[in-house]
């Protein structure tokens, strides 16, 4: 045996017997045929579900607790079984042969004194793991039968035979508020469109708008420039709009001055305010 134990595939899964549902679309047709053939072979070996299942059955002949089972003996039993199958010209699935190879390897390791040079798990560790796997499978089988033996719904316990359905009904609730009512009345009586109160902002230039505008323009203002030149087009004619735009722009320049982006100056009261980009 030259293969390191870690590479020994001792538990290659074989499909369990669930005919007709083996439909992995990605699989090649030939592959399916091979697998079908393998399934048939397993049935030939008394319908065991793979080598582990067979090992578990063989272990029962030892009549001891699985924890104390002799893996060495089990390996011998398995190898004898495989030999017998060969004599009977029963073709074994690859997994059975792989397991046989692995057990033969394990057996030789168990019989030889441990090699201190050898890396990886010891033969005892491998044997212990196999024993653990058998015990775990056994435990799950017992758990399954205990589960199936419980008082199952529809067999020992029953639900209400004539459950009463919940009747579902739908009700429409119409909604209208006082505002709707007044709006409707106003519409009818005056053809006015009633509307909830909202501040009319048509003539207002906001500080946000001014900030936006001044930020864009200030780059060009290396020299002192009149604040009034920064007002948006079309806002200077109407006094109300001019007032709003001037106030917003002034507030924006104060903000930008605070940020250190520009400077402002005014020669005297009511004289024009001029601004320029802050020189670097």
């Amino acid at each position: 045996m030259t293969r390191p134990p870690a590479d020994v595939p001792h538990l290659r899964p074989v499909p369990d017997t669930d005919p007709g549902r083996d439909d992995d679309a990605a699989r090649q047709l030939a592959d399916v045929a091979t697998r079908r053939a393998e399934e048939a072979l397993i049935v030939d070996v008394d319908g065991f579900e793979g080598p582990l299942d067979l090992l578990l059955m063989l272990s029962r002949t030892q009549k001891v607790d699985l924890m104390k089972i002799s893996i060495l003996r089990l390996a011998e039993q398995y190898l004898a079984f495989v030999e017998q199958a060969r004599r009977l010209r029963i073709e074994l699935a690859a997994d059975y042969l792989v397991m046989a190879a692995w057990l033969a390897f394990l057996k030789s390791r168990l019989l030889l004194p441990p090699d201190p040079e050898d890396e990886g798990p010891s033969a005892e560790d491998m044997a212990a793991h196999l024993a653990f796997q058998l015990e775990r499978l056994q435990a799950m089988r017992q758990a399954a039968s205990r589960l199936m033996g419980r008082d199952r719904l529809g067999q020992s316990r029953f639900q209400r035979g004539a459950p009463e359905a919940v009747a579902r009904s739908r009700r429409t609730e119409y909604q209208a508020g006082l505002i709707d009512l007044m709006r409707a009345y106003a519409r009818v009586k005056t053809k006015d469109e009633f509307r909830p109160y909202a501040f009319d902002r048509d003539g207002v230039f906001t500080m946000e708008q001014a900030l936006d505008r001044v930020r864009k323009l200030i780059g060009f203002a290396g020299d002192w420039t009149d604040l009034a030149d920064f007002l948006p087009d079309g806002w200077s004619a109407d006094p109300a709009r001019r007032r709003s735009a001037t106030a917003a722009t002034f507030a924006a320049t104060l903000e930008l001055a605070r940020e250190g982006k520009l400077e402002l100056q005014q020669d005297g009261t009511f004289s024009p305010i001029t601004i320029r980009r802050k020189p670097h």
Binding site: V166, R168, D200, G203, A240
Partner: protein, 226 residues
Amino acid sequence: MEDAEDKVEDETQGSSFPPPPLEAQERMVEALLFASAEPLSVRAMAERLPRGCDPAEAVRALAARYSGRGVVLERVGEGWAFRTAPDLSFLMQTETVETRRLSRAATETLAIIAYHQPVTRAEIEEIRGVAVSRGTLDQLIEMGWVRVGRRRQTPGRPATFVVTEGFLDHFGLESARDLPGLSELRAAGLLESRPDGPLAPLASAAEEEDTGEETGAIDGDLFEDD
């Protein structure tokens, strides 16, 4: 009837197995009735209970035990079945409430009734300028917001419509008199009126289309009927 028969049969078999005590029989009947998809007759129960049982007696005991509970044992034809107690049938219904806005026609009709009550259908139509469909009025009446009032003492004695307590409740009004008048609405700036301030322009073409036919007067004769 059949109980008697059963007993006779039982006696012929001898007393090898005495029947279970009544409480045990009651449990069995309870389980049978619970699990059965159909009402079970006493005979059907007897067929499934151990020999010598008296399901009629067990059913009586069980019915007494369930009396006043959330489920009750009811006689259904020849059989017995558990049913939800009648007073709890509301639990077996779920109601999904869908809220929908009142249609424009209904809202306008409702508003006219509220402002002009008592008002006849002809008057509503005159104010709205369109016919009022029977359905709209029916809907408002069904919702409990409008009811038929006294007949008008005019030729033809037409029925009038008035709003209800339910209407006042829903809209949070003490009385229909609390409805604000149009002039109040306008004074409070709650009505779109053509602007007079300097900050006006910008009315879009679309808006004008809606509101261009600005009306002159809002009549002072609101609630003339009250």
